[in-house]
Amino acid sequence: MKTSEPCRVEMRVPRRPEYVRFARCAAKTLALQLDFTYGDACDVELAVGEACTNAVEHVTATTSDEMLVCFLVEEDHLTVEIRDDGPGFDPHGIQAPHPDLEADSGLGLTVIRAVMDSVDIESESGRGTAVRMSKRRERQSA
């Protein structure tokens, strides 16, 4: 796919578990179209799945029933932002999984940070969460 000009794609996706697969598969398809390696496209799929799952798991009666999934296509990068209006959280308070498994939350963020090149989280209690993450495209050898 030609990516000389930055291009933005936005999807409004229901915040329901059965639509997480749609969002992550769309991300993987786009990454493959942009000539990301299969492994990197799978990483993008996984990260988008994790961020969407987080949005789905924090839906409440007073929050929107949609999440916004935005893709920014640039020459060497694919950036994805998942935004919701859920209760928010303190991203600095999330720790890597503890070996005794007493707390198994935080796994998703650990995964996102491991598979993407950069991750930025804006979240504030009561004001929703935006997870913005980028993956650089490796040049395929001829």
Binding site: P17, V20, L46, G49, T53, A96, L107, G108, T110, V111
Partner: protein
């Protein structure tokens, strides 16, 4: 909406069973995985082999379910044994450090062998 996951199970003796997950495990179907596993535990299964050889995708929701089952079986004096994860799932276990905590075997036969031992 059609399911991306097929769950099957078989008993192996009185206290062991193999639960096979073919397809994709994510937040949409982890409740079914948990229910199928807990049904086996309720029926007396103490050693549960989770066959991941046909699991094409798993995320942290799936890992959370595995952690919950591991804890439950450990409380009962039993064990959860993972068998044959593909590279994508192996990598996920590695990233999260769960490969150091959960028993991971090359295939179902190896898991059952340890189970028998």
């Amino acid at each position: 909406m059609s399911s991306a996951l097929e769950i099957t199970s078989r008993r192996e003796g009185d206290e062991a069973a193999v639960l096979s997950l073919a397809g994709e495990v994510d937040v949409a179907n982890t409740p079914q995985v948990r229910d199928a596993a807990l049904q086996l535990v309720s029926a007396g299964v103490m050693r549960l082999v989770m066959d991941l050889s046909a699991t094409e995708y798993m995320d942290s929701a799936g890992l959370g379910t595995l952690i919950g089952l591991h804890k439950r079986l450990k409380e009962l004096g039993g064990a959860l044994l993972l068998a044959g994860p593909k590279p994508r799932v192996k990598r996920l276990l590695d990233i999260t450090g769960l490969d150091q905590i959960l028993a991971v075997h090359e295939d179902v036969a190896a898991a059952l062998k340890e189970d028998a031992g």
